[in-house]
């Protein structure tokens, strides 16, 4: 995802080596993905099919009131 989008940065975090991060994000099972941006945070638990994963990862963009999606004129 980071590879195809210049605005996305992806970290693979080894939870046992960084217990402070695991605690901060309340990681009790893996994989757990925390997506943060635009002042919003969503959590994705487990491995999801690609479409569902992208849906959830980008759900924050429509949920965030501060930056509405730009309208494209047809």
């Amino acid at each position: 995802m980071a590879f195809v989008s210049p605005n996305i940065t992806a970290f693979a975090v080894e939870a046992t080596e960084f217990p402070d991060l695991a605690r901060k994000y309340q990681v009790s099972g893996v994989p757990k993905t925390v997506v943060a941006g635009n002042g919003v945070q969503v959590e994705i638990l487990g491995a999801l099919p690609q479409d569902a994963f992208v849906d959830q990862a980008l759900s924050m963009l429509s949920a965030a009131p501060s930056e509405p999606e730009p309208q494209t004129k047809g």
Binding site: A2, F3, T9, E17, V30, N38, A57, E67
Partner: protein, 142 residues
């Protein structure tokens, strides 16, 4: 002694043969207080002998803090996967062992030219993201 078995080395060599462009792995480390930095460096050192397209550069988090910051890295060991001319914005925090090693290899192949596994529709949706997003994927070694 190698950490990767001879048969796995052969498989990796074959996979790396398909790479079209060079990949640089920035290895973030520090001299003191990093229990797993040495092991991570040992794993990374296994890769360049398997492909002339892979290189490793070391960045000291303490001495080169500005550079680490530039790549969003504030703890070690960490790896940033870079293309020849661009940053893939893919990072690994912690030792790339177990499944993480597979993920690292996949990231190297992707940056080296393998087509992304994303569908065309998802690729378009992601390319249209105009707000900085950070994904943190938490895993364990096994």
């Amino acid at each position: 002694m190698s950490l990767i078995s001879p048969s796995d080395q052969d498989k990796l060599r074959e996979a790396f043969n398909e790479m079209k462009s060079n990949v640089r792995l920035l290895f973030f480390t520090q001299t003191l207080g990093c229990e797993t930095c040495l092991q991570t460096r040992q794993i990374l050192d296994e890769l360049p002998p398997l492909s002339s397209k892979i290189s490793i550069e070391e960045v000291n988090l303490v001495l080169e803090g500005d550079k680490a910051k530039q790549y969003g890295v504030d703890r070690v060991p960490a790896i940033a996967v870079l293309g020849e001319h661009q940053d893939s914005r893919v990072r690994f925090l912690g030792t790339p062992a177990g499944y993480e090693f597979i993920s690292l290899i996949q990231a190297v192949l992707l940056v080296g030219g393998r087509p992304p596994g994303l569908t065309e529709a998802n690729r378009k949706r992601l390319a249209a993201v105009n707000t900085p997003l950070t994904l943190q994927v938490f895993t364990t070694p096994t």
